[in-house]
């Protein structure tokens, strides 16, 4: 009986916490609104980003500021804070730890459509920064890289990549993500692909626990064209490199900001022993903030 009472009190506390912290529908903004600072202001914007592999927050902050300066945003300074995924960045922005979230345009659109507390930060210069999506394979898997490059090339030239992009990224509705069927070929070789499921509409897991989104649809097409089986393995972002090098998976999705110059080098998020395929998708960088 006593136990029952304690459980009831605890549940009530949790529910009250949920309501007071404004989960799903609350409109309490963070301490700062994430707008551009006034000209001449030196207060840096606390910017949430996915943890890159080969750099730290201070170095990346300097690189971003240098890049922003070149694009004409001299007054804006950034203070990146690294997070494992978009969920934790959302929690951080709602707690006032950061002011903005840095992500991709397609993901930002999905987030805004799913959660009306967020809006885009207006900054035309962000449209000039593209992120490029590709596959990462082990350096020694040259044949696999060549196969992937070949299929990506074919899909680009016959327009099927654009078709997939339209269906799974541009026209997709947040509450109606199409299911993807990956064909199974008896006796064919299997390529294991690691997905994180935390970047909708590119990579997500449906309510029935099946992987979906643009990346999965692309894999289904690649499987057909290579006449190979694709096995999707869901994995935490932090274990990508370990899973690839230990051969638990053969391929993992990778994103690069391909400035490839002194500002943001290509290897900023690329571990040793990994080769990147031809890019298959390009997206702008977008910054999100809580609505006022």
């Amino acid at each position: 009986m006593k136990l029952k009472k304690i459980a009831k009190v605890l549940l009530s506390c949790v529910m009250a916490g949920a309501l007071f912290t404004g989960c799903g529908g609350g409109d309490t903004p963070a301490k700062t609104d994430g707008d551009k600072p006034a000209a001449g202001s030196s207060a840096p914007i606390k910017l949430g980003m996915i943890t890159p592999l080969n750099t730290d927050e201070t170095t990346l902050g300097e690189l971003i500021d240098k890049g922003a300066e070149k694009l004409g945003d001299k007054d804006i300074k950034h203070l990146p804070k690294f997070y494992d995924n978009l969920n934790t960045m959302q929690l951080a922005v709602e707690a006032g730890e950061i002011e903005q979230i840095s992500t991709f345009q397609s993901v930002a659109n999905y987030l805004i459509a799913s959660n009306d507390k967020y809006e885009l930060v207006e900054n035309k210069n962000l449209e000039k920064i593209n992120s490029v999506f590709c596959f990462a394979v082990r350096k020694e898997d040259t044949q696999l890289k060549a196969d992937l490059d070949k299929v990506i090339g074919e899909m680009k030239s016959d327009g099927s990549l654009d078709k997939l992009t339209k269906e799974y990224v541009n026209d997709v509705k947040a509450d109606n993500i199409p299911k993807v069927e990956i064909p199974t070929i008896d006796g064919a070789e299997t390529i294991k692909v690691g997905v994180m499921g935390d970047l909708p509409p590119l990579d997500l897991i449906l309510p029935d626990n099946s992987p979906a989104g643009f990346n999965t649809a692309l894999l289904a097409e690649i499987a057909k064209r290579l006449n190979k089986n694709i096995e999707i393995v869901q994995i935490d972002g932090g274990a990508r490199a370990a899973a690839l090098s230990s051969k638990v998976i053969d391929v993992v999705f990778w994103v690069i900001v391909p400035l490839g110059n002194d500002d943001i080098p290509l290897d900023i998020d690329k571990p040793e022993g990994v080769e990147l395929s031809e890019p298959y998708f390009k997206d702008n960088v977008a910054h999100l903030k809580l609505k006022k």
């Binding site: 459980a7 949790v14 934790t88 499921g197 869901q234 230990s246």
Partner: protein
Amino acid sequence: MTFTDLLYKIFIQDGGWLTILNGLWVTVQISALSLLFGTLFGALLCFFRVGKFKPLKVAAQIYISIIRGSPVLMLLMLLFYGVFARTGLSPLLVAVVTFSMHTAAHVAELLRSSLMALDKGQVEAARTLGFSKWQAFKLVTLPQLARIAKPVYQSTVVNLIQWTSVVGYVTITDLTRVINNIASRTMQPMITIMGGMIIYLALSYIIYGIFHWTERRRSQ
């Protein structure tokens, strides 16, 4: 969107609750198996640790200090991506091995501290009265050991359930992974994580309830 609509969208729509139940089942499986093997292995370790055979005593001591001093996630990743990487063992099995190893170290220490809290005179008295070693252990030591160890063992069980929340790192879709997937899909992390927390809390209270029930049965 109202709060109720949001709850429906997150936890019920399109059979999301079924996936949550599947994730919960994976968590329960890993926890239950790890508890079983961890307790057996822990008892054996404790036996070595308090025994008189020096090499086994030292080996048990080293094992317990290393495992208790290492984060379980590191151990899990080391075993899955290192030691068992090319063996073809399923991730679930590797997780059970890892958590059994980890639980065993904790159980061994809790049993040892419980043994130390026992009055040795009682065993000696039983032996003087003609009890064999086994009878003295079974009838005098074990019941008291169980009584002393029970509260800490209960916490170990609950801790074990919570430790399993890192298995997403080795490709297992457990309750935490399912909750994270839902949070990513719905872009509502706060409420989804709270939902997950309530399920873990309920699981913990079921454990407390079981221990409470056994305690009441014993005292009746």
